[in-house]
Point group: D4
């Protein structure tokens, strides 16, 4: 139940197209559903604009399926991140429309795609090995109704690769910039554009990269203005925040 | 020289209101001005929508004044952050319109205020001691043309203080949420609204707060979606990013 | 041999129901039993109110069994934590009443359950993946003679899930609050109740959660009064301390 | 307004001793008082059993005084921690009963002392230099209505000093154990008693003590059961939690 | 070639029992033997009193065997630490006297045991899971010609286990004290004896033990005088240093 | 296409040996080739003097092969580091001249070896277990056209092994010094020579070596002048920088 | 009261030279003297061989004086470390024999110097700025009855300075080796001698020396056998442990 | 005494221009001069090509002067870094040619400047506040006989400032690149040139820059090849290493 559906429901009630009793039943079912191991919050898509997203790490396939069922009783679409293949297969059995996004390990169930907004979100990454994180951002932004443009392997060691894209980048409403190792890319991009930049550090690297800490610190200390940061490898969080920003532009 | 002024200049040239020679001189002066100790980038307000901001920490008052002079040759307004009183007095002597914002230690010179956008930015902070950081965000967002609403001392240990504001918060286009100690406030706010939340950790606390690391880590690990983070005490960065986001809503 | 049993024994001696010689033998056997690889402390249940608990990590199944035998010579009940299935099977062979608590990997042998105290301990956790830690606290508190109420998946990103429980929470004598990621839940709970709160950080999360450090620091810096903290994932320690507190309320 | 006063007020209303209008006014004034730089929560003593405590670090004397005035409109007693002498003098001018506890830098205003509970809280510290933290715990526990016994300079390098106290320690309902450097004292104490132990690491030490991290980690990893931990130097937090625990014993 | 053997050789030369040519050959062969992947230092037993010890971690079995062969050409005995079973089997094939010490994963080849010194080295450990580290110290001290006494599982949570040993401990010339978790044991022991204490932190623990950092820091910050520390899990280093100390007592 | 080839091509054009059309085609193909998952930069050998090097960690064999194909269309030689055996086999199938350097896990394809420079690069390592890192430096320096001399297992615990090499070391133009554990070797070497020293920390060690941090910090703090440092285990980076330095000496 | 004096007292009693009553009074006064802020342990010189040492950091001059008075009632000599000049002056007023060791900030009161042992302790430091730490070790070892030889500024960047001392170093019974920055000196020394080496990291350095962490880690990871480590800047601890070791050699 | 002077001396001896006795005296005086608090190494300029450099931090002015006197007995020129004004004045009194470089706090005494090499060293810094570190590198490289070109305030947030310099940068033999905050500049520069790049992190920044750790880690993880790193703020070390590299190009 998102805002659009709620408007429609109440409009139908006022117009007499929907009996009051049926509307009451639908609205009553909104709220928190206690599965003992999880409390599914079907009120969330009304409050946040998108239903709960399932973070699968550390949940059993059957827990994920039970939560997914609850969510899909009230919403059309579902996003589950960091899903194993086993979890995907369990979801697929229940929801034939489930799709597995291999690179990002995300599962989507799209029964009624959202209309795409006109503005675009640009997703850049510094190297080939950052792609899984980039793809998580792409899948998230896509299912939330955004157009996404991808620019992969444009790290600062070959700055010309980035500068060649300068004009295209200026067209995006918001940019997600992903990098591991020294995490310098968001600072350079942030200096080129007048739009918000969401920086995503990745755990790509070795030794003194400390699993992404080097990139994280670099991004938090960016000398470019307008750069904000999410957790290491958190492509989902970047895609989600970018979508909230892009929707302001409608 | 920002986008609006550039449009006007070129329009005036086309309409014959401005001699070509004068326009050439103005445009030629855009670019990088090498002061030896600094390269002032007067092209920035065209590229980024706001002139260079002076970070005063570690610069002498006379260096700050020299940079300010260069910027104010091409732009109407100036923001200088982390300024000592001594630096402020040096600026005041040169630019009588200079104002000192004591709480945040920011200096502004506003010769022609920007028109305010319609959307608002909400600035929340957890405790009284977080106010200097909050005020830096407020000053920044304000000079960049935004309406700001402040909600101070609404930390999670008295959650009712926050919940009482719930409806007001839903009105903002973007929320800046500032907290030290355990840094929990952005997670709670992020769960209540469907707008982007920029979290600012502060160095408020002692012992295992490690100068703001505890709050920073908490915010990076927020379980609420749509939260991005800036550096510890970086009120300026949050205000700047919030302005870039809010301007998408025009 | 706990305090109750000691009172009874001495009472029986005074009343002539127990021959002096037999009492001497029982009391003499109290003390430290050197198994070479371990010194089992059968005096502990008298001193601490509960017999030694076996932490199985890094011990072989046969070491655990040998220690368990020694303990169960003097006490009715046994708790072993972090036990592998293999260790459980070895215990089960020797003690048919042994039970395996799968979620928490704890083994209990309860030959004579303690009488339950009247007050209750509330165990809350933020997310589904925190449940193993929560269950370790539950098993511990339960075998030590406490009534436990569980509230799982009530993290702060959906604060309404927590506020709905407010009155129930006020009924508990002591609350164990478990969370990974940003570890904000104990601060919110601590602001709502006038009872001691024991916060347990978990290693749930990724990237900048650093295996639970983010949550640990958040809890140590809690702005709510009355919150104390135990080690990352230390459900046992929380359950034990909660039991010591709850027993004051008798 | 605490629970006792509320019972009395409502009893007076029912008995006709208090006009309804006056009671309404008193109850209406409960809640959050917005001073712009602070939101004073006069509902807290009802919810938490003790009025808000002012943490003075980072607040100006006049801010502290303004908050104190608001609190003392609804409550009899006040605790302000980490107060400078200047802050104390500002409070003293307004509240002649204000007292400065030099060692702990706490200020108390006691207009109507709480009745002391029967059980005691023991406060132990390892060395002379830990005393300021210990005294903060003592002042806190005292103003909240507890009897406190102090045992200072009983560190583990002279274990006989501690063992000599063993029987006295068994008498306390809860023990606060404070240590810097290697932070070993709570582990030894925790092995001797069957009561909850609250461990407080201090920043006493140098080099690899890292401002108290060594002691903090030692306490979090205590091999003794029943030990919980608060932030480095957080004597206040320990005293507060100990009071919540001790009050269960009434 | 150690000091004793050198004295004997030169004595034999002087006495004419050994032809000069043979002595020259023996002495010429002392020095560094370059195996390309290793430079074996057969001069070391003369300089340090014990031949090179092979740290097997990261070396292939055949590398270890090649180094062992070189060492055993000049010395009677060999110690190899952190050896896999595979490495042991390779050594056993070449040197039938090779023995595997399972708990510590050390291999010894003792062809001519050193005479035992009269003084003893005491090896204490806090818990059962610290035994592998303790055994590495024992094997090292033993092969270097020391008498060793073991006291295992005497951690501070049951301080009586330790105090019962007090007199025995006073008999040792040097004490190796091993502990994980909070690492408090060396501080307590250091306060009881007037002999050097070598503290060995172990990686036993979880969460905030950070693989032994908690114990390491505690030991470095010991409030007891006379305590020195070696690397985490470095039983070998403790045994070696204890032997150097014990040999001063001859 | 490196500088030499470019000179030749343009010389041929001027001399009429190469038709203009063919030269244009060759030059046009220089630049960035977008493979979607990677942007191969064939301009790099002109700009940097050596073609792009493939870091294989985190890339699939087929991604590596696709990138290698693109590079070898414009260049004669190829270096791929951190390659699995599987990746090597995939490259071998396509490029029969591919060679696997087992110790360092590097793959080289050398179709036309570069002429060796006259100056030499010395590669020293402290212990046998540092050899894989040393070999990565050797392979890198070798394929880039340098003569390399190796001195392995010359750590500071047997300083005579190093001093014996003193004169040889003075002959090198640049020295790569590799060490794990306490990382002291570069400081000693740096004090003996008047040439640049590149220090490479390795992750060899355990406990408080923290995966190479101890060695890294030691090297960054070297009291010897002329020492610079690369990332932990970064033999490639050291070899590459050494080659850039050595080529200045031609 | 140390062991020698105790033997003499009891001998005198047996020989009738000392009345029993006087002996009883002397022995009764041994034990712990509670000064409220400190418990002075006059039994320590009997148990540990040297009276309590006062660590002055964080104690007021009058606290130090009070403790010193208690100690000097039972012992001839006193050591107080990390004393300010103010503390020294307060001690000097009470004990005219008090001496201030400026470099190390130690105060000694020597009323009856201990007889010097025959063996020597060598104290080496890497640089001039390490001297304050070295001098603390020297003062400590000296007052405890040891001969000390000093070798300052012999860091590894000029290894010849150290090698020139090689034979002298072999004469010492135990070596204290002090270094900041990369902390390499103990590893080199440890490879040259067959005696125990106590390594002391200092906070000398900047940047990535992190206040001595770099040197500390280097020393803990020393590849030389026989090296043990004390806390950063802990010259006292090194001198104390060296004295305990040296006394074994008598 | 450097290599050139040594050649001349021996040539003069051979040619009979210098009596043998005088040459012997000169050569004998080379070596280590023990000042008790320092061992001055006058052999160093022969071994390393430049006399000892005095690091003044932590040394008293009189210690610095004593060391300087010793050095200037054998060498023409002197460099002292991190000198206070007081130290400078003490040097100036003794050596009238002493010069103070205010920005970098370096003192130089140049009695006979070295001939400049033909190649240049480029020194770049990201921001105005990095200049002190840059100037330390400049002073060092200059006194060691190098031509230096400076490019200040060319940070990556205004990448055009850097790209405008591209051709000039290609002319340098070696580049020193200095940056605080996110430390991205060396990675971008490293991708543009085919010469060695020495990266210097600075402590410029706040919050999560952790005194330069963020920049240090970024530089160690640089994705550009040919970048090596020195300690935080170590302008001297960078200048020294750059000089060693540049001298290979003669």
């Amino acid at each position: 139940m998102n805002e659009t559906k709620l408007y429609k429901l109440l409009g139908d009630v006022r117009a007499g197209r929907e009996p009051v009793g049926a509307a009451v039943r639908q609205l009553k079912s909104l709220g928190i559903h206690n599965l003992d191991f999880a409390r599914v919050d079907s009120h969330r898509s009304l409050r946040k604009g998108f239903p709960e997203v399932i973070y699968c790490e550390g949940k059993t396939p059957s827990q994920v399926v039970a939560i997914a069922k609850k969510i899909l009783q009230h919403d059309e679409n579902l996003l589950a991140t960091r899903a194993s293949k086993e979890t995907f297969r369990a979801l697929k059995r229940m929801f034939p429309k489930a799709q597995y996004h291999e690179a990002s390990r995300a599962v989507t169930v799209v029964r009624k795609p959202l209309t795409k907004r006109t503005g675009t979100i640009a997703v850049l990454c510094a190297g080939t090995t950052d792609i899984p994180v980039a793809e998580e951002a792409v899948v998230t932004a896509d299912i939330m109704g955004n157009r996404v443009k991808k620019y992969y392997d444009v790290g600062v060691a070959g700055i010309h690769r980035l500068l060649a894209l300068n004009e295209e980048l200026l067209d995006a409403n918001v940019l997600i910039v992903i990098a591991g190792m020294e995490g310098a890319l968001p600072s350079v991009v942030g200096g080129l554009v007048d739009k918000p930049v969401i920086a995503v550090p990745t755990s790509v690297g070795y030794g003194a990269s400390f699993g992404g800490i080097a990139a994280l610190l670099a991004m938090l200390n960016s000398c470019a203005s307008g750069v904000t940061v999410v957790n290491i490898n958190n492509g989902f969080g970047a895609g989600y925040a970018a979508s909230l920003i892009n929707q302001l532009a409608r």
